[in-house]
């Protein structure tokens, strides 16, 4: 061997850096076009920029990036103009686009009044670290997301991408394994199993044909960080998989990506192609003699397929049904061969750990859960989006400092963590540090990273019912308790939300929950009762109100609320509510006041939203009988 992997890599890197540098001599506009950006209209924004730039004959490149995590301010762009710090602008529309092109790109006024944040330290405008969010956030795996072009391997390489692979290829696999184990990196797919221990088990297997699979099934119905990472920085995950493959001596790897993620599938395929072109994937990687390639398998949308053994069955062309363990996948996985299955985020940490060192990694987070936690922070919180904070940050800091608390002056009620397998935690436990073990003790789980903030308008029985309905539908039906137990629980919850709950319902729920937990083969059933158990534990009074008073305290369960127009507040002259009603349930009384025909009302909230704030005449009442009472009083 004449050239070392490091030398081959250095050549690639020099070339990539020159290429990137030559491109960045001129001004660049980066438009965030991950799914969140696209939904907010980023494609139009990109076109507006192109048109306006062309019209003015400017020499400016318009590029696409992934998700920066600030979804609440989409569409977002970053403008890099030599002589200025890189600046990020949010809430882009056609007008602002033209303004930026005219004043900043053609002229030289950075329009600070519209800028959200600067990305480079400077004397004029605050950077991320100047905001509360920046103080608590620490980005490792999201570091480059939204800041590099996900379709260009050169940008990734220019920022030390694949350097870890080059280093690893000159080490003994045993040494790589030692480092991953020493880092105590824990799997980010939910359970927090140590990655190094898993890799070691696979490495020790007698069978020599081995596989590496990246789990990008992301089944939690309220989460999207794995997709964002794949859409924003696919090479990071590929690099982690190559390192894993070298360690466990696998020659073939797979991405298991759900087919509902077409953009992620496309960007990963594109990245794989580029990596092959550069000799970073395929035969003889970086001239080292090591062979490894990766293919994409599109998952067909069954939650249970996120579970390891079910995932493997579905790749084999069977129904995705979990099987007994042992044997574990590391002994008998895909095609019966030893297989390492890790989550997208788990792989994404690996290159950082090998490049920057085990100690560096362990400096962040807690002793037992080192590193960071990545969440999709959504629901009733001001700054929605993707966040990454060190493990050990408290929930309170995450919601109130990073998320900048609950909007519209509403009262915080609970935070749902971990999706269908997780739980709802109340205000009183918000000082729980975020790490695998503390969250488990509080009744929730770290889970995949979905985090939904709920306020006073959200009903805890309804959310428990929502998740149970999800798991019930997704149960593969193999285990009786999971199939029938969840159905029975769902029926009880449905009855409660309709005001048909009975005395003793809660005791039965509790018992069923324990049975389903213990009687299920896989963790779909094993964790399905969690949302019910945590809401019972922390919000028992809401259940009681539903059962005993037929009242939904959050005014959310449609069977238990009625809409009412307060005659003293109604203006008579305004017709906003009438126009907004989709079922013509609102009529004008003889005296000119508006009223609601309860028979026709579908409780869609439209009138409540339509009624102008100066009147605020529409209210929700629970239990619904209150409407009659009020009417009687008014007719006295």
């Amino acid at each position: 061997m004449s050239v070392s992997a490091k030398d081959s890599y250095q050549k690639l890197k020099t070339a990539a850096q020159e290429k990137v540098k030559s491109l960045n001599d001129r001004p660049v506009v980066w438009v965030g076009t991950a799914t969140c950006g696209k939904a907010a209209g980023a494609v139009d924004v990109r076109e507006f920029f192109k048109e306006e730039i062309e019209k003015r004959g400017l020499d400016v490149r318009v590029m696409e990036i992934g998700c920066m995590g600030h979804c609440y301010a989409e569409p977002l762009v970053i403008i890099a103009k030599p002589g200025h710090p890189r600046l990020c602008y949010g809430y882009l529309d056609e007008g602002l686009t033209r303004r930026l092109v005219q004043d900043f790109l053609e002229g030289d006024d950075p329009c600070y009044e519209f800028a959200l944040v600067a990305l480079d330290p400077n004397d004029f405008f605050p950077t991320f670290t100047d905001f509360p969010r920046g103080v608590y956030e620490k980005k490792i795996i999201l570091e480059d997301c939204g800041f590099i072009d996900p379709e260009s391997i050169d940008e990734y390489i220019a920022r030390d991408g694949y350097e870890a692979v080059a280093g690893v290829l000159e080490m003994e696999p045993e040494e790589v394994l030692r480092q991953v184990k020493a880092s105590t990196l824990r799997g980010r797919g939910g359970a927090g199993f140590p990655a190094g221990v898993k890799w070691e088990a696979c490495r020790k297997a007698a069978e020599k044909t081995r596989y590496v699979i990246c789990n990008a099934d992301e089944g939690d119905p309220g989460a999207f960080m794995d997709r964002s990472i794949l859409e924003s920085n696919p090479h990071l995950v590929i690099e982690g998989m190559v390192i894993c493959a070298y360690t466990v001596e696998a020659a073939q790897g797979y991405f298991y990506i759900r087919s509902e993620y077409p953009q992620a599938v496309r960007r990963v395929n594109n990245a794989l192609e580029q990596a092959r072109d550069k000799g970073l994937l395929g035969n003889n990687i970086l001239g080292s003699g090591f062979n490894f390639d990766i293919e994409v398998f599109e998952g067909s949308g069954a939650f249970v397929c996120g579970e390891g053994s079910a995932l493997v069955s579905s790749m084999e062309g069977e129904m995705g049904v979990p099987r007994h363990k042992p044997p574990r996948l590391t002994a008998s996985g895909f095609r019966g061969k030893p297989t390492v299955l890790n989550n997208v985020k788990t792989f994404a940490y690996v290159p950082h750990i090998l490049r920057k060192g085990v100690e560096w990694f362990k400096n962040t987070g807690t002793e037992k859960s080192p590193g960071t936690a990545v969440f999709t922070l959504v629901g009733k919180v001001t700054n929605q989006g993707l966040v990454e904070v060190p493990m050990g940050t408290t929930l309170r800091q995450l919601i109130f400092d990073v998320g900048e608390s609950v909007p519209n002056e509403k009262e915080f009620k609970a935070v749902q963590i971990g999706g269908p397998s997780g739980g709802c935690l109340p205000e009183s436990v918000l000082d729980t540090p975020i790490d695998f073990d503390s969250l488990y003790d509080a009744g929730a789980i770290m889970g995949s990273g979905g985090l939904v903030v709920l306020d006073e308008d959200d009903c805890m029985v309804a959310i428990a019912r929502y998740f149970l309905e999800f798991t019930q539908q997704e149960s593969c039906g193999r285990c009786t308790f999971c199939r029938l137990g969840t159905k029975h629980m769902l029926d009880i919850l449905t009855a409660i939300t309709r005001g048909e709950g009975e005395q003793g319902s809660l005791e039965i729920l509790q018992e069923l929950a324990e049975d389903v937990k213990n009687g299920s083969l896989c963790n779909l059933g094993g964790t399905a009762p969690n949302p019910v158990l945590t809401t019972l534990r922390y919000f028992g009074d809401e259940y009681e109100a539903h059962i005993k008073e037929r009242r939904c305290p959050a005014l959310m369960c449609t069977h238990l609320v009625a809409f009412y127009i307060i005659p003293q507040k109604c203006s008579k002259l305004c017709n906003a509510c009438v126009g907004s009603c989709p079922t013509e349930a609102i009529y004008t009384r003889d005296d000119g006041l508006k009223a609601i025909n309860q028979e026709k009302c579908v409780k869609c909230n439209s009138c409540l939203k339509a009624c102008p704030p100066e009147y605020n005449a529409v209210v929700k009442l629970s239990p619904p009988e209150l409407v009659e009472e009020r009417e009687r009083e008014n007719n006295k």
Partner: protein
């Protein structure tokens, strides 16, 4: 379901191509079904039978798989596929109301297609833009903050308007040739 004239030939053509393209092993079954659905829009019985023949496996195995996975649809979709997000954030903020509004206006239930095959209605899990909740996808156009009034507006827009070209497809038209792996169905998501 009765196949329209010419539909049968169309299906056979696509299934033939898929059987050529993939290795005829059991492992190819899911990718094959995905490929057929991408081309035809759904999985006709005929296609499943032909694939079973091609792989030399019982047809029930293919049906079993097609019904197990949420992605596969056994009935033709509408020209406009309405997908209401029922992810956690959307559900809590009015996804159900949006779904019910569509059901009421289109006079079909979730999972059905209107008799004129113009609209079909289904639910999906988190689309990834929770900050715009509740979210609805019409083909692959994302509509945010969908209230019942907005539902009426959207239906009018689509009923009368000419075929809307989605962003994704516009983009493809522009970059044709650069990426030939993508098809018109690219934005396809079902749950």
């Amino acid at each position: 379901m009765e196949l329209a004239a010419g539909e049968k030939e169309e299906i056979l053509k696509h299934v033939g191509a898929v059987l050529e393209e993939f290795k005829t092993t059991r492992e190819s079954l899911v990718p094959m079904l995905q490929a057929v659905q991408k081309k035809v829009g759904y999985l006709p019985e005929l296609a499943m039978e032909k694939i079973a023949e091609g792989l030399d496996i019982p047809a029930v195995d293919v049906y079993g798989l097609a019904t197990f996975y949420n992605q596969f649809r056994l009935n033709p979709p509408g020209r406009y596929q309405v997908k209401v997000c029922m992810g956690t954030a959307c559900y809590m903020i009015g996804g159900k109301v949006a779904l019910e509004s569509f059901e009421r206006r289109l006079d079909i239930q979730e999972g059905e297609t209107t008799p004129d095959r113009e609209f079909s209605l289904e639910r999906v899990a988190c689309v990834g833009c929770c900050s715009m909740a509740p979210v609805v996808l019409i083909n692959d156009m994302v509509e945010g903050r969908v209230t019942p009034t907005r539902v009426d507006g959207l239906l009018l827009e689509y009923k009368d308007g000419e075929e809307k070209i989605s962003e994704e497809n516009k983009e493809e038209a522009r970059t044709k040739g650069a990426d030939n792996s993508s098809s018109n169905e690219e934005g396809e998501r079902s749950a």
